[in-house]
């Protein structure tokens, strides 16, 4: 197992380097640049800007300089659009926010989704099942860009219970609506996957054996059914977790959280090369890491899997 993890980490490094080079080239191929705006800049001013940010160098040299600064100094450079801040600062400000509401949403989605799925599978084809399936379909069809403004309308304007947006780490009320809006559709997917996987497991031989031995039903479910039923759920959760903690542009826009989901999309639209690279690398590294964790979890859950 240890050797497996080492091997995977060794592959991760060239993967990330490729990702950096590839994104860098693609980004520079996109038309326009960080300094093209409604009014064209005087040529001399533009030249000074480009010199300052090293955009005059040949592309290979720019990539090389960037790699050196990222790998050796862990410095992602200054933002092109927010000149007062470095990319490291922007990520340090925005990522904890997304990590918080994304992490909470993940927990909410997993706990509620799995419970709903298990309950629906146990009382298969009863009203409990129909209700659970109904809830999860409802949650799935209501996209978060519809739900977000609705939540603000209800909880901020009508009931005045919650602030309509913004962020503070000291006040949990700011995270309530982002968590609801972000977690519901994931919760629905998790519930459906859990339900069908659970149904399959409950019909398998080892469960019949356990029941035949006279094991109480709750022990059958918890000790023998739940663990194998979680396998498809876990392979779904790996990428979901990364996409949740690296933010959602919809949540960031509607609730003005200052998270990095919006920063990522904005940086692409504004051609803020430095921020875009920084977030790409962050998301890439996290994706590689969590795919690895999922694989390790697999081996732990399913004794048949050995690396």
């Amino acid at each position: 197992m240890f050797a497996f993890i080492l091997r995977r980490l060794a592959v991760a490094i060239p993967t990330l380097l490729l990702l950096i080079v590839f994104s860098f080239v693609l980004m520079h191929l996109a038309p326009g640049g960080p300094f093209t705006g409604e009014r064209a800049l005087p040529p001399q001013v533009l030249a000074n800007l480009e010199a300052q940010y090293g955009l005059n160098d040949p592309l290979w040299l720019q990539i090389w300089n960037y790699l050196v600064s990222v790998v050796i100094h862990f410095d992602f450079g200054p933002s092109f659009v927010y000149p007062d801040r470095t990319v490291n600062q922007l990520i340090a400000n925005g990522f904890p926010v997304t990590l918080t509401y994304g992490g909470l949403s993940f927990l909410a989605a997993v706990i509620l989704g799995v419970s709903l799925g298990v309950v629906a599978a146990i009382w298969h084809n009863s009203w409990v099942d129909y209700l659970a399936v109904g809830i999860s379909i409802g949650a799935q069809v209501l996209p978060n860009f519809v739900m977000a403004p609705l939540l603000v309308l209800v909880f901020t304007l009508w009931y005045r219970w919650l602030p309509g947006g913004g962020w503070s780490f000291n006040d949990p009320s700011f995270s309530v609506m982002p968590v609801i809006a972000l977690s519901t559709s994931y919760m629905a997917s998790i519930a459906r996957i859990t339900r069908s996987s659970m149904l399959e497991v409950l019909g398998s031989n080892h469960i019949r054996t356990a029941r035949a031995k006279g094991m109480p039903e709750h022990r059958v479910i918890i000790r023998h059914a739940l663990k194998p039923a979680m396998l498809p759920v876990i392979s779904y959760l790996g990428p979901v977790f990364v996409s949740m903690i690296t933010g959602s542009v919809v949540i960031d826009i509607y609730f003005s959280t200052g998270g990095i989901g919006k920063a990522f999309v904005d940086s692409a639209l504004n051609r803020d090369y430095a921020v875009m690279m920084g977030v790409t690398i962050l998301v890439g590294a996290l994706t590689i890491l969590f795919n690895l964790i999922v694989d390790v979890l697999y081996a732990w859950i399913d004794p048949k899997i050995r690396y």
Partner: protein
Amino acid sequence: MTKLFATTALLTALAMPAFAVQPAEGETLAENQTYTYWLLDAIKSLDPALNTDVEGSDALRSLFEGLMTESATGEMIPGMAESHEVSDDGLTYTFTLREATWSNGDPVTADDFVFAWQRVVTPETASEYAWYIELMNIDNATAIIAGEMTPDQLGVAALDDRTLQVTLSAPTPYFLNTLSHATTYPVPRAVVEEHGQAWTQPANIVGNGAYTLASHNLGVEIVFQKNPAYWDAENVVMETVRGVTVNDTNVALTRYQAGELDRVQIPAGQFPRLSEQFPDQAVSVPQGCSYAYVLNLGETGPEALKDQRVREAMALSLNREVIVDQVLQGGQRAAYSWTHWAIDGFAAPEGGMQDMPMDQRLERARELLAEAGYGPDNPVRLQLQYNTDESHRLLAIAAQQFWRPLGIQVELNNVEWAVHTDRLQSGNFEVARYAWCADYNEASTFLDWFRTDGYNSGKWSNAEYDQLLADARTAEDTAPLYQRAEEILAEEVPAVFVYHYAKVDMINPAIKGLPRENLLNTWYAKDLYRVAE
């Protein structure tokens, strides 16, 4: 640009002491003097040398003060400069600074201005607004930006701590009026040198304005607190000013209605409903921007557009009244001139197509197209390019519908913002949506755009037009020159003008002192106060 500034008003204003708005009789101040305003997005920079956008300028006007500032009604009044003298040749200005301190207690000195202005033109600063120092005609600015001279050769010197001398390269009648712009604000040399680019962060920033920066959570909230060290602090009523970012205008409106914000922009199309429901809150005032479809007449442009008759037919048949009354619905006005109708001293030429009934205009358009060899059976085919935005899309669809029956087939081409501007600047378009906003309240801020060496993305060129604008810089009476320039634009149609902007906001009636007749919408937090409801 000579007529730019009402000099008499300026001189009288200079003689008066600075004043802030005071509550009128019968008004009771609210206990809680907080003003919360809406920001569409994060503020990009709080460095006067690096700021480029309106939201940044709004914030900088609270944190800093230039040599001059503006009264609540938009007149120029002394800021950091107590008085000034101009040499006979108009090239040397000597300012005497008032006794004022930075928010850290250090005195504001002439050297802080020298440092700030030199910093803007230094190539390493990479200021996008370096051209502003050129616009001010400060001696050697252009050469320094080009790297041919060193920043210390800029025509600005501190004779002593409170005397600042500025040397211009040419007499510049509007010079004093450039001095309230954020790019010209002083910056504290010691603080900038100590912290480098991080000097604008809340823990480091030091200003000389009416407010200090209490906190700045990028993209969430920026909070200003009244600065007790400000020289005119006794006349500042508003204690706290908060700028809250809400990226979605509909959510912003909901939060306004929930009492979280005192001012928001009204989302497109909602003004009629809101002004009926909340007549004391929904406000539409002219905003100094014009919207147009620019036609590419350059080498890269399509053949059909080089025919003036085709361009005229496009202008005639675009039903702007439907666009402003049915689509935009927020007090915008149909545009038949490039200059915004509310610009100071500007009167649009009369007798143009705006006075013709629509059926006559359509008939004339058909004739022109037929003469040019086009019609419904042999249509002109064009690409209309616009950047991603719901209202641009609606307008483009409307234009498409107005032009199609005549035989002008436009294909809509939606691209993202960066691609749109890149294609405009490289001439890679046929018809493109464009808007221009006034930098100052005078017609040349618009008309300069179409000069042969102006921004002029469509590459239209007319010698008479260029001459008119050159003459206007020194003319006693510029109005007839600008009218003639607009007539030329109406005749030759280098662009189809669509509408003049309005700023459509919900404003909490308890907030007083926000200027409503200021076309550029500059406001100073120090002029605001909140009355008890």
